[in-house]
């Protein structure tokens, strides 16, 4: 193994039924560096971490750890820790009702017989040396989230730690807390710990990291030194487009600005979305884009009333309306296909038929059930129209493939004949054929006068379908692109913050 390298993963592959989560991925972590692991949803970041820490066994490849000869096979996170690889997860997995010292040492094999005094002394020394503002006897729950996070790190590095994995440690911290955490990370780096840092905040990567490894669709895109990879190129690599060859400009005159907007919101905000303005015209297809966590889904959820709406002024067809819950939105002709199909979309145990008619039935009313014949007709019509592959309309939706489940949810909303349809990641995790079908369907709907908001992690797909793109970063709208501006280059620059 190369000198100065603490962890080296070579040609790692890992498959799950139907998905190749990792294919021949290499990853190298050096002594005393902070190394960012970047990639969009489904890129394979968490799978790689879980392979490193022994949560998942790898299908193929080798793993080398400093100080151990030959290929290392790690079977469990405990074993990983014994070999000097510690992990701190996004959610704090400590016990808030125990003290800081207890949290740092409890559950460690060698402390089966606890000497409380010793434990507190050791904890105090470690906290001091890492400049963590917490007292050993303090209850963990009384510390701020950042300090709790730091205690978790202290726990992780107390043992002879060579590799520290931080999985989105900053996602629930404010700027000041992030600064504290970064200081700790730099201290550890100075001590020679190799840190693998996962985050989706680009600024943070450039603030603290030395190197970046980018994954996409389970494959290695490359390893880069931070000075040699400008932010906009990083975005391009994550999204799968090299900057060169992006010059083709798609002229789309689909934007319709005249007339009353089908839907317009001013200062709309929800429990999860910052206030924003938005409007969409009849027959327009627009999109919200931005990296994961940029607030694009939260914004459309606010439009549909899916989260608690906290403010704003909304008009539908020019008339002021109140949309506080999904049913209100449905009454005004708005449909919403949620981002997480499994969690928010399908009613797993119910039949394809019931899943198709659900939204229209709810709109029709509790006391007006469709007859069996009507349900049959609706279901058959849409199973045929969208070419849904199912044994019968009676089949529980959970036994369909992901793409067909998605078509059922689409059918559910098409059946309500919405004026405005919101599709959040309608093509995620489904095969290419179905993807194109859905894209074509969106354009056909627009031709029929339906307004569509389309969200996708695949920028190409959005450029193909949308005539206007609203770009979000860190929960704010940072730009709106249309016409000649609709190029991948421009979108990525705007996301990365390089736009005028």
């Amino acid at each position: 193994m190369e000198n100065g390298v603490v962890l080296s993963m070579r040609n790692i592959s890992k498959s799950f039924p139907g998905v190749k989560a990792l294919q021949n991925v290499d990853f190298t972590l050096r002594k005393g560096e902070i190394h960012a692991l970047m990639g969009e949803n489904g890129a394979g970041k968490s799978t790689l971490i879980k392979v490193i820490t022994g949560v998942y066994p790898r299908d193929a490849g080798q793993c080398f750890v400093e100080g151990i000869d030959g290929d290392v096979v790690i079977h469990s996170p405990e074993e990983a820790q014994e070999r000097g690889i510690s992990t701190v997860y996004q959610e704090i997995t400590l016990c808030p009702n125990l003290t800081v010292a207890e949290n740092m040492y409890i559950g460690r094999g060698k402390y089966n017989f606890v000497k409380w005094k010793d434990m507190e002394k050791k904890a105090g020394a470690l906290l001091d040396s890492l400049n963590i503002p917490a007292r050993p006897k303090q209850q963990l729950g009384s510390c701020s989230l950042a300090v709790q996070q730091m205690v978790a790190i202290a726990r992780a590095v107390d043992t002879d730690c060579k590799v520290l994995i931080l999985d989105e440690p900053t996602s629930s911290l404010d700027d000041k807390e992030v600064a504290m955490l970064f200081k700790l990370m730099r201290d550890l780096k100075a001590r020679g710990v190799g840190i693998l840092f996962v985050t989706h905040f680009l600024e943070q990567v450039y603030e603290v990291c030395d190197r970046i490894t980018v994954l996409r669709n389970g494959e290695l895109v490359g390893e880069y030194e931070i000075e040699k990879l400008p932010q906009v190129e990083l975005v391009a690599k994550m999204m799968g487009k090299e900057l060169e060859g992006l010059s083709e400009i798609k002229s789309s005159d689909k934007a319709v600005d005249s007339g009353t907007p089908v839907y317009q919101a001013q200062g709309l905000s929800s429990s999860d979305a910052k206030p924003f303005d938005f409007k969409i015209a009849r027959g327009e297809v627009n999109g919200f884009t931005g990296l994961l966590g940029s607030g694009r889904s939260e914004s459309v959820r606010a439009i549909f009333g899916a989260d608690r709406v906290t403010g704003g002024h909304v008009t539908v067809e020019g008339k002021p309306v109140k949309i506080n819950k999904p049913f209100d939105a449905m009454k005004h002709g708005i449909g919403y296909l949620p981002e997480d199909r499994k969690r928010d979309g399908i009613i797993a145990d119910l039949s394809v038929r019931d899943n198709i008619i659900l939204a229209l039935q709810v709109m029709k009313g509790f006391f007006k059930p469709f007859s069996a014949a009507e349900k049959e007709k609706f279901a058959d019509e849409y199973i045929k129209a969208l070419d849904i592959k199912t044994a019968s309309a009676d089949t529980p939706i959970k036994s369909l493939s992901g793409g067909n489940q998605q078509k059922v949810i689409l059918a559910r909303w098409l059946l309500t004949h919405p004026n405005y349809l919101i599709l959040d990641e309608p093509t995620r995790g489904i095969d290419i054929g179905t993807k194109t079908e859905i894209q074509r369907l969106v354009l056909k709907l627009a031709d029929d006068g339906v307004s569509v908001t389309f969200i996708s992690s695949e920028i190409e797909e959005m450029l193909r379908t949308c005539s206007r793109l609203i770009v979000m970063r860190d929960r704010n709208i940072v730009g709106e692109l249309r016409g000649g501006q609709l190029t991948q280059d421009q979108v990525m620059r705007t996301i990365a913050g390089g736009a005028e």
Partner: protein
């Protein structure tokens, strides 16, 4: 293809009823070998001079009436809330007390006052049930904890309503609710179960109660995103169960002509929950089959009557019941079902292979 999907439909829709049906069949079969006389049904004159049906089967059906009605309501609460109401016995006692209170407070027992009494019982029971329902639906307290409140204090409330230990109501009308209507040889409670069953099926036919309840039970978040008011649906399930409690309470009071707030439908909640489980319904909520729960209720009662008929001392009955219940529940467990499925596929596979060979020849 069409035929296959029809078979699949039958399998999807009715395979759930297999366990309660088999349980019931086994209990009946056991009795057939033990004593064929168990099944004899005879016409006899009772002490009021009515010609009535008598026999173990009739008393099983009759005796299970309250349980069957409660099991129907419990099925809905289970499906919508993914939890159970353990206060049904106590709420039935409250409703029974209200029923008695109305009758004793009015000038005489007439059809009108009885109707008022029943109505009063239903309204009060629904109010109490909606108290529990609010805790569950609005305050998101686990159903068993929420209903523990009324389970604990319900029978005291029942006592306060009449202020006496066991107030009685005597009238031919009460008698005809609790035992027989003159001229009809079938015990009235059996008829009431049929009426309640029909009411529920009408409710399922003319409203979306089933679709909404199942949707809320399977995926509450998705239900909301499809415009369903899941709080309302959960509350409704409790209110309907409250109505069931009131009817069961009225039957129980009418059987004896008195209300004993301590013993009326004592421990019935566990049997009601068990009926739902034997009926193949997931106690975690979601898809449900009310007919399964009804069959489950009859299976439990058949078991009790069989044990009585075998002259098992009443002190020992619960232990024997427990043993049989272990068997029934194990029969319906996913592990056993999986094994049975495998066995079934193996047999079916052999069958079709043989058929294929025949056709080839």
């Amino acid at each position: 293809m069409a035929k296959k999907s029809f078979a699949a439909k039958i399998r999807n829709e009715y395979s759930q009823l297999l366990v309660p049906l088999v349980a019931l069949a086994l209990i009946i079969l056991f009795n057939l070998f033990r004593d064929p006389g168990f099944f004899s049904i005879s016409l006899a004159k009772n002490n009021l001079g009515n010609t009535v049906l008598q026999g173990n089967l009739i008393s099983t059906l009759n005796g299970a009436s309250e349980l069957a009605i409660l099991a129907m309501g419990m099925t809905l609460v289970t499906a919508a809330c993914g939890g159970q109401d353990i206060s049904v016995g106590a709420v039935a006692a409250i409703a029974g007390s209200v029923f008695v209170k109305v009758l004793r407070g009015s000038a005489g027992v007439t059809p009108l006052t009885v109707a008022l009494g029943i109505l009063g019982g239903i309204v009060v029971a629904m109010l109490f049930a909606s108290f529990s329902g609010t805790l569950v639906a609005v305050f998101k307290i686990q159903p068993m904890i929420a209903t523990l409140i009324l389970y604990t204090c319900g029978r005291s409330i029942a006592y306060w309503i009449n202020g006496g230990a066991t107030p009685t109501v005597e009238s031919p009308i009460i008698n005809s609710i609790g035992s027989f209507i003159p001229g009809i040889p079938i015990p009235t409670p059996i008829l009431i179960v049929i009426v309640v069953g029909i009411l529920f099926s009408l409710l399922f036919r003319f409203t979306n109660l089933r679709l909404y309840t199942q949707t809320v039970g399977i995926n509450q978040g998705a239900a909301r995103l499809n415009g369903i008011n899941s709080v309302g649906i959960k509350l409704l399930s409790f209110v309907l169960l409250g109505g069931c409690c009131a009817i069961a309470g009225v039957i129980g009071v009418s059987r004896l002509g008195l209300i004993n707030h301590e013993t009326l439908l004592l421990d019935v909640e566990m049997d009601a929950i068990l009926s739902v489980a034997i009926g193949g319904n997931l106690l975690g909520g979601g898809k449900f089959k009310m007919s399964g729960s009804i069959l489950g209720a009859y299976a439990i009662q058949a078991l009790t009557i069989t044990l009585y008929a075998m002259k098992v001392p009443s002190t020992d009955i619960k232990a024997y019941k427990a043993i049989v219940i272990i068997l029934i529940v194990a029969m319906g467990s996913p592990v056993v079902k999986e094994q049975m499925n495998r066995l079934w596929k193996k047999l079916a596979g052999k069958g079709s292979a043989a058929k294929f060979r025949r056709e080839a020849a």
